[in-house]
């Protein structure tokens, strides 16, 4: 009776270009590769003396953060500034929503200020999708994390990091470890890795931290860390929130660390040239040993640097997708 909505219908324009960036799910390999390659070129530029390009000159980018964040917010801000945009940071969790204003009202208020792009972080899954559905035409929406659903720029910066260190995705075994249940990062990584053709994607966690039927997303499930790490090329650790102990998902931090914390000893099971990643902020001694986090296999700081480049890429691509759509519409009239 109803057609099932394609997740792409909201984020692509009629030419198949990105106009919002909501999720990595369903995006083509070509488009994901384009994001990685565009970001790669920006990453090289960031190392130079003059770090700015005029791609978003005259545009206003609003960072709309309903959940607190340090690194994501600051890398989005830097990315927008390097694209020459005007940037407004709004931390909504402490302002309007506590006054009872609905998300839609907040959005309309901000639209009245003639913004060109919203970068949205929200604790509800589907929030960025909701905003993209209700935003005025020609305004781009970038998902900076919605609930447990998606964190596509984090996933793409991880893809860029993997690409820069491993080159080709097709032979790779990638293991994602920890709180998969609550992780928007893991979901976005899984979709991206699958589309980019990684040989095997594994998730490693106790059953209490695994969402139902996660296998359906195309991953292999391991509840034993050593078995799951065997021959892995890339190990991605996820942050474990302290609240998980209170909600009876785990007995204690120490038991989790003993079984699933990444130590140099456990890392022996992975390939000798394996790399270690973490979306941050890290909990030393909870999900990762300091010696690993600061060790030679760790790419954690590279991820942050690549984050700026990836955010520049999706911001410029989405803005350009919006412009194309606007031009097509005015031609049609």
């Amino acid at each position: 009776m109803f057609e099932i909505q394609d997740p792409n219908s909201i984020q692509l324009n009629s030419e198949g270009q990105l106009k919002h960036f909501i999720t990595t799910e369903g995006l083509s390999k070509a488009l994901l590769t384009e994001i990685i390659e565009t970001a790669d070129s920006f990453a090289d530029m960031s190392a130079q003396q003059v770090k700015k390009v005029p791609l978003l000159r005259g545009k206003t980018v609003v960072n709309l953060f309903f959940e607190s964040s340090t690194r994501t917010l600051s890398t989005f801000e830097l990315a927008a500034k390097r694209l020459s945009a005007d940037v407004l940071n709004l931390n909504i969790s402490t302002s309007s929503t506590s006054k009872g204003e609905t998300l839609k009202d907040t959005l309309q208020t901000l639209e009245a200020m003639h913004s060109d792009m919203f970068v949205v972080r929200h604790s509800d899954s589907g929030a960025a999708h909701f905003i993209a559905e209700h935003v005025t035409p020609n305004v781009a929406v970038i998902n900076a994390g919605d609930g447990r659903h998606a964190h596509p720029t984090q996933a793409m910066l991880d893809m860029l990091t993997i690409k820069r260190h491993k080159g080709d995705f097709s032979p790779l075994i990638v293991a994602i470890v920890g709180d998969i249940l609550h992780s928007r990062v893991a979901r976005s990584q899984i979709h991206a890795l699958r589309t980019l053709g990684a040989a095997e994607i594994r998730v490693i966690a106790p059953t209490t931290l695994l969402p139902k039927n996660i296998e359906a997303l195309g991953v292999k499930v391991f509840t034993n860390m050593q078995a799951g790490l065997k021959d892995a090329d890339v190990v991605i650790m996820l942050r474990l929130q302290k609240e998980r102990m209170q909600s009876a998902l785990l007995p204690s931090e120490s038991e989790f660390y003993k079984l699933f914390g990444l130590t140099n000893e456990k890392l022996q099971h992975a390939k000798p040239d394996a790399v270690v990643m973490h979306p941050g902020p890290i909990n030393r001694g909870v999900e990762i040993e300091s010696a690993v986090a600061d060790g030679p296999k760790s790419l954690i700081l590279d991820q942050v640097t690549n984050g700026i480049a990836v955010r520049m890429a999706v911001m410029s691509m989405s803005m350009s997708g919006q412009m194309t759509e606007k031009n097509l519409k005015s031609e049609a009239q």
Partner: protein
């Protein structure tokens, strides 16, 4: 005397399905087929090519009054009911204040009578304030017109309190209606816990949130012998448990909402909040189990689980929206969809919407036998139409079925022999 001429009269209670005339006098069915002698016909309705059935009885419809009149009122929703051929509504006790004292029950019944459209039969709260701690004054509520008692989906954490409620209800042979949901297992969930939920990253409600509570209730029903009804089952396993309990001779019945018979969790893709309902839309297997229950007597009735909302209630990220579908006007046409798909025969469908709910409530309605109340629905089985913002009578426009091609439309509704709706 009024005559409804030449319609296909379907009255499952009396195993009647034939084209004939129906005579109504003094608000009651006076005769079927042959006109009674010595009576003059003062009024007639031509029902050629139409189907004449008892007015529908909806076992669960929220009318939002008192307390939530920004969403809907008794006046607006009884008007929507009769436009959908529904002549009797049973309303849950979750109004504000809740139906835990006779004044609230009387207010609901009085307002419905003053409006003069559908009959509204309130459920009383099983515990005071639906808090799950102290028994409500069930006898007084029953005397004021409550037809059943329920704690809605609020749950009664203490098995001892629940046991006492059921014992007390059994003392007076009151009907208890369960809307089974384990609070802790349902937690902050908003959709069925399965693949779609995992992909969308929403908090899931596992099947066990329903089945654990169904099992607990059934054991206490067995112990107390109370008459019990399960409203809006969503899981295949619940249907099996209720079926088995009936085989053991327990006095239990069940209903299912029409949308659980047509939709599954996959419909939530795209975060469309119109598909946000509690209990959640479940898997294809569950849907098949519910349909199977309808033909094997595991589930006796179909309801609308009508929950009208103001537009703002549905305009937010999925989990932040309020659950529920506005369903009065689509109950019959969606039911006819099941007939068209040959999942039910027409008399089977009509039974689930009329005589079966009447029998669960033990009320003298839902049939066209001579002497019964002339609450009647006449529909045109051929009319193709779509529900839209403009033609939707309910104050709640929150239906995922807006714009879906429907077949079969109510053209005439009578209550106590009087026309209350005419298309």
């Amino acid at each position: 005397m009024l005559v409804i001429q030449n319609g296909r009269v379907v009255d499952p209670k009396n195993q009647l399905d034939q084209t004939c005339d129906l005579y109504i006098k003094n608000g009651k069915v006076a005769a079927i087929g042959q006109a009674p002698e010595g009576q003059s016909i003062s009024q007639s309705i031509d029902a050629s090519g139409k189907v004449v059935i008892p007015g529908l009885i909806d076992l669960c419809a929220h009318v939002r009054e008192p307390g939530y009149t920004q969403k809907a009122t008794i006046a607006s929703e009884t008007a929507a009911a009769v436009a959908g051929g529904i002549t009797t509504l049973v309303t849950p006790p979750t109004t504000k204040p809740v139906v835990d004292n006779p004044a609230v029950a009387e207010l609901i019944i009085d307002r419905a009578e003053a409006t003069g459209l559908a009959h509204v039969l309130p459920m009383g709260a099983l515990t005071q304030g639906l808090q799950g701690e102290q028994l409500s004054p069930m006898h007084a509520l029953s005397s004021s017109g409550c037809v059943a008692f329920s704690n809605a989906r609020q749950g009664i954490p203490s098995a001892l309190v629940l046991l006492r409620c059921l014992e007390y209800a059994a003392t007076h042979d009151f009907l208890v209606i369960f809307q089974p949901q384990d609070h802790e297992l349902a937690a902050k969930g908003c959709m069925h816990d399965d693949t779609t939920c995992t992909r969308l990253g929403l908090a899931g409600i596992p099947e066990t949130a329903e089945t654990v509570e169904v099992a607990r209730c059934l054991l206490l029903v067995e112990q107390t012998g109370v008459r019990a009804h399960f409203g809006q089952l969503s899981a295949e396993r619940s249907v099996r448990m209720v079926t088995d309990a009936r085989k053991l001779g327990l006095r239990v019945t069940a209903d299912v909402s029409i949308h659980h018979l047509l939709l599954t969790d996959v419909n939530v893709n795209g975060f469309n909040s119109l598909f946000h309902v509690i209990p959640p839309l479940r898997s294809q297997l569950d849907r098949a189990g519910l349909l199977h229950g309808l033909v094997t007597d595991g589930i006796q009735a179909i309801c609308s689980d009508h929950q009208p909302h103001d537009p703002a209630a549905k305009q937010a990220p999925f989990a932040a929206t309020e659950p529920g579908i506005s369903g009065l006007e689509t109950l019959l046409p969606l039911g006819l969809m099941l007939v068209k798909q040959q999942l039910l025969s027409l008399p089977q469908l009509i039974e689930k919407l009329t005589s079966a709910p009447a029998s669960i409530l033990q009320i003298n309605k839902g049939s066209l036998g001579i002497g019964s109340d002339a609450d009647i629905c006449i529909f045109d089985p051929e009319t193709q139409w779509q529900l839209s913002d403009e033609n939707c009578v309910s104050a709640g426009k929150n239906s995922p079925f807006m714009g879906v091609p429907l077949q079969g439309k109510v053209i005439h509704t009578l209550i106590n022999g009087k026309t209350v709706f005419q298309a």
